[in-house]
Symmetry: C2
Subunit: 351 residues, 2 copies
DNA sequence: GTTAGCACTCATTCTTTCCGAGTGCTAACC
DNA sequence: GGTTAGCACTCGGAAAGAATGAGTGCTAAC
């Protein structure tokens, strides 16, 4: 059933007024707002029609209309005007982003924080995991005679290190051998391929009384495990309570709980081939999100993997603005990852 | 004004019943609960006396009593029985803690999460900063002809690394020289002592056209900066809403906001010479905490620095239990840091 | 197809009433 | 003097009722 142009304008007005005021929208306020040259009765007729089509809802007979999920969907797909970032907005975004971007988890933490601050909705950032990570290289640095640092570099260019202290002393030679043994036996293997047999064999080959090999390998496996999984960071949970739809604690609490368990967010994805996604109310799979909306944008982490950032809010969300800001942050992140995995330290001096 | 033994018992009953029920406590329920062999009228007399002394309050004439901050304080100082952890509790704590403790921020993150889960209050963990950190050692690892990894080890045994990609190629020799130059010129210096002059001089000494020195030093300064500051992690914000005193959003929201800005928590400290601290309601300095309580415990991070973990909740908090659990976690953390800065990977095999 | 007019609906808000837990006091008791 | 039974009194909170008014749907005229 096609909508007339006037119906579209009415729908759009309802959505936008409702986004602004969070109150059911009556025929009069539409009149004031839009430049339709018709009477309120005519608008009422259109409203009735839109309601019949399931695009709007009426909380009760004597109230105005609010957009139904289907109405938001139509709005987002066809009616919404792209929000253009103002200079001020861009500046604020840049400021918030360029803070201190260091290690991956830091980047994500900061990004989430920034987004949440800028959109006033809770935000999250997730890095897609790398299911088949392997170690690209081991290094062993001697600290003193009873301590050394193991450095593990994975093929997705992540670096991890750990300090090991030993009850006994060791010499530089032993460490050299340890390093080359590790590089010989354990590079290029996925987590599953780290078998106890392999460790035992390597240990024997080294004549390893102190158990150096199992130690380092155990650490390595932790690193691989970690890289394999997705990493999720959430921020700005408190902004949820600022929105009138979550004044009702019985609504806010389950969502809060859901968002607090960051792991949950891992299931929010953007289909291959798209860079953003908007999930409106019941379009969400998880119960806790059923009457909220999620806006997602992807960023490129290099190595052909994509990360996702997003915000969660009421279905009455300012989709246009949120989407624009989110995309901007996503692009900034992509750019960040492009220059080597991490922003290099000369960045600030760049023009 | 000294309290009689019976008054103490009445006060204790009021606090404990109130902690349990969150409702004003009447003379009858005290009767049922305590083993005082007196009538409710007598109890009422005692209640009146305790109220007069400012230990209890009456929300309104026809309601029971609730503890005043002063009453909680007395309870905590003198009346409260030490909560002994049950075997089950210990097991749950251990389970929650022994998860995956890796890098410092991970440890804190996990610890906070565990505490919050176990106490059902929002929790936070903070590491005291190291104001005068210096670099203990640099290492440079060659990845390929256009990339290398810089590893920085600070004197508080923290390790940081970063991958640098270069437009030009470099050889092993250059990197060797870079490393020894860095170790020669920049170890043992605090952040302030990293002057541009020094960097320039070092750069010249190396014949450093690619700007390797400034690159690595800039990274190093970030690391020092980071180590210098306190690190704060919060967790379990959502559990705040579960408590009846925060059903009222106008109370919950400011506190949430306060807790979301983790930096805030940095000001919560435990006086030298003590290992725990309880701050009740108005004893808190910050406005947002004025009608909540904070329980703190310290852990030993090695290097003579102490970290703090804590939970935030309503003044009607189960101080005894929370304190016991918090102390347990703090002790576990201390033990963790004792064995080298990080738990070594053989830990699981320990008996 | 559009609009003015009007009766009707129903959430919200404000009052009023009612209920009862819990008190404080008095007078008797040990 | 401390303790207790008895009772009038207080006052928040729940429940019920009344008033308000924004907004509707419908009808009839334009």
């Amino acid at each position: 059933m096609e909508l007339t142009d006037r119906q579209k304008r009415v729908l759009r007005a309802v959505v936008e007024i409702y986004i602004e005021t969070a109150e059911p929208v009556g025929s009069k306020s539409i009149l004031e707002r839009s430049d339709l040259n018709v009477s309120s009765a005519t608008i009422r007729n259109e409203l009735a029609e839109l309601t019949a089509q399931g695009l709007l809802e009426q909380p009760h007979t004597s109230a105005g209309r609010i957009p139904a999920p289907k109405g938001y969907r139509l709005y987002v797909n066809a009616l919404m005007e792209e929000h253009r970032l103002s200079v001020q907005e861009t500046e604020r975004l840049n400021e918030a982003l360029h803070l201190k971007m260091r290690e991956l988890d830091r980047v994500m933490d900061e990004a989430g924080r920034a987004i949440s601050q800028l959109t006033r909705y809770p935000a999250f950032a997730l890095s897609s995991g790398t299911p088949r990570v392997t170690v690209k290289r081991f290094d062993v640095l001697m600290v003193d005679h009873s301590a050394f640092i193991a450095v593990v570099m994975t093929d997705n260019n992540h670096l991890a290190n750990r300090l090991f202290r030993l009850p006994q002393t060791l010499d530089r030679n032993q460490l050299q051998m340890l390093a080359s043994l590790l590089n010989g036996s354990f590079t290029g293997l996925t987590l599953e391929e780290f078998t106890p047999q392999l460790v035992r064999a390597a240990s024997q080959a080294l004549g390893d009384e102190m158990g150096l090999v199992p130690m380092v390998i155990s650490f390595t496996m932790e690193v691989l495990e970690e890289q394999r999984g997705k990493m999720v960071k959430t921020a700005g949970l408190d902004s949820l309570l600022a929105h009138p739809e979550y004044q009702d604690l019985s609504r806010a609490q389950p969502l809060m709980r859901y968002l607090s368990q960051a792991e949950n967010m891992g299931s929010l994805t953007v289909p291959e081939g798209q860079t953003t996604r908007i999930l409106i109310g019941p379009e969400n799979v998880h119960e806790a999100l059923k009457d909220s909306s999620v806006v997602l944008a992807t960023y490129d982490m290099g190595d052909n993997t994509r990360g996702v950032i997003g915000v969660v809010g009421p279905t009455r969300m300012d989709y246009a603005t949120v989407l624009a800001r989110l995309e901007y942050v996503a692009q900034s992140l992509s750019r960040l990852f492009e220059r080597g995995q991490l922003p290099d330290s000369t960045e600030k001096e760049d023009p």
